[in-house]
Amino acid sequence: MKFRKSEILFFALRNTKLRIGVFIVALFAFLAIFGPYFAKYEPQDFAGPGYNPPSGEYWLGTTTFGRDVFSQFVYGLRSTFLVGFVGGSIATFIGLFVGFLSGYKGGLADELLMMFTNIVLVIPTMALLIILAAYLKYRGVFLESVFIGFTAWPWTARAVRSQTLSLKTREFVNLARITGMKPLKIIVVEILPNMLSYVFMVFILQFGGAILTAATLDFIGLGPTQGISLGLMMQQAVLWNAIQLGMWWWAVPPGIAITAIVGAMYFMNTGLDEVFNPKLREM
């Protein structure tokens, strides 16, 4: 127990799940950042003849309309990471805020906040987004991320609340109170630092969740009206019968990327859990 910090680092570096997860995410992040510089065409440009399978010129082939799939893919990856980051951050933040407030304040504030949380929890996120998206004329990737963030927080709020409740009973919170500290300061200075590892794990899950939600949203036609995303690519592929026509290079890569990124995120999460929670460590 003595070398707490270095011990955690030791386990983090040694944990295979964490290492694999980080590697995969980093790989795709690299593609998202630098891929567009290698892409020869703009994603919506007509790059050449349609129905082209992958070749030296069109690395991932072309679509029915002759757009370059590789360009769409790397730009789409960017949107994916943007959605994950923005949506995940917003959801994590709201979840933390509501959870802390509800758990620390207790009483009526807690009752009301939890009732609201439960209501948002039961309403299918997708349904809410459908109504919102149906009325917006122009939607960008960023706006989509914000919507996702604003609907994905309830489970985080509930989890953070129960963690706060248990931390609140620890005497160091009482000690901070008789040191004359204000509630907000106690939350930030005493409670939050104890939950950093947990918050980080929540963020990873929200990151992955936002990506999946965005992909689904795009797929059923509620995605961004401008720009490209992996979900939109899949939607286009299905709409223009890419499957029936055997154009696997159009329909398959976006899904592989999403699955790999989100799967790697979940994997990282389990790895981190083992790092932070000694009970789960492999001896």
């Binding site: 309403i123 997708m126 919102l132 992955g208 329909a251």
Partner: protein, 330 residues
Amino acid sequence: MGKYLKRKIIIYLLTFFFAVTIDWVIPRFMPGDPIRTLLSRAAMRTEAMDLLYNYYNKVFSLDLPLWKQYVNFWVSLFKGDLGTSVYLFPSPVFEVIKRAVPYDILLLVPAILLSWIAGNKFGAFAARKKRLDNTILPIWYVITATPYMWLGILLAWVFGVVLGIFPISGAYSFSMSPSLSWEFIWDYLKHWILPFGSLFIVQLGGWAIGMRNMIIYELESEYSRYMEAMGAPAKLIRKYAFRNAVLPQITGLALQLGVIVAGALATEVVFSYPGIGYLLLQGILNGDYFLIQGCFLFIILGVLIANFFIDIIYVIVDPRVRRGMSGETA
């Protein structure tokens, strides 16, 4: 126990109220004239356009005071009047959705229940041995990270296009019409299996992971240790732990419903399966506002009812709730 259910029912009623209100508020408080917005996005012939303009005007009745608009909205809702579809003009939305719902139920209910049961069994099984756990766990993660529609695309491509075993579009062949004949049922099942498969497989991963984590936690618990100290065989300890681990999985099922429904919508789109998801896509592509709204309300209603059933089951299996000891809150 009565208190627990009462509390839940209040939440559900509030949720429904909240959802309907959102449904009413959004078109009215968006910038611009909602009717113009809707019409501009509806792809249709001009003669229908005038008809529709008048119709919308009547339904939205923007000249009335707000509270009256709101009351009218609820009144027509209770009459089952969800407006008229633009996409399938002039069918009432209620009728359109009513035709779609059975396909959803027959697809979703088996997919959800079977994947839940199988996921729990597999998850508990894999947690038994460290080696087994380490090999299977990555597979679960990949499966659960797969977007529903993409798995649908893969299945359609492999089984429909490459192998050509299953049809990949619609709920039954064009040449058929729904009847209770063996021939139809067989045809229906052939169309059903791929959408079912993609829903089943993706969910399976999530449940298996959930069960694995919960049962590992339960096996570490003090009651498991005590049983071990009393010489109880591993099988009995696992049986006890499983029962405890299933409880949060039931709650998890309620929490996941929304996500599952979203996945189902997307899956239906892949397979042009005539459920609500497919309708919704058409509604969106055609700017059919009333259809979208109707789908929205139906989805919410469905999720709420399912949630309620799950609550009743929860009360039956968890003595903490049954005997009025808090247990799971709200």
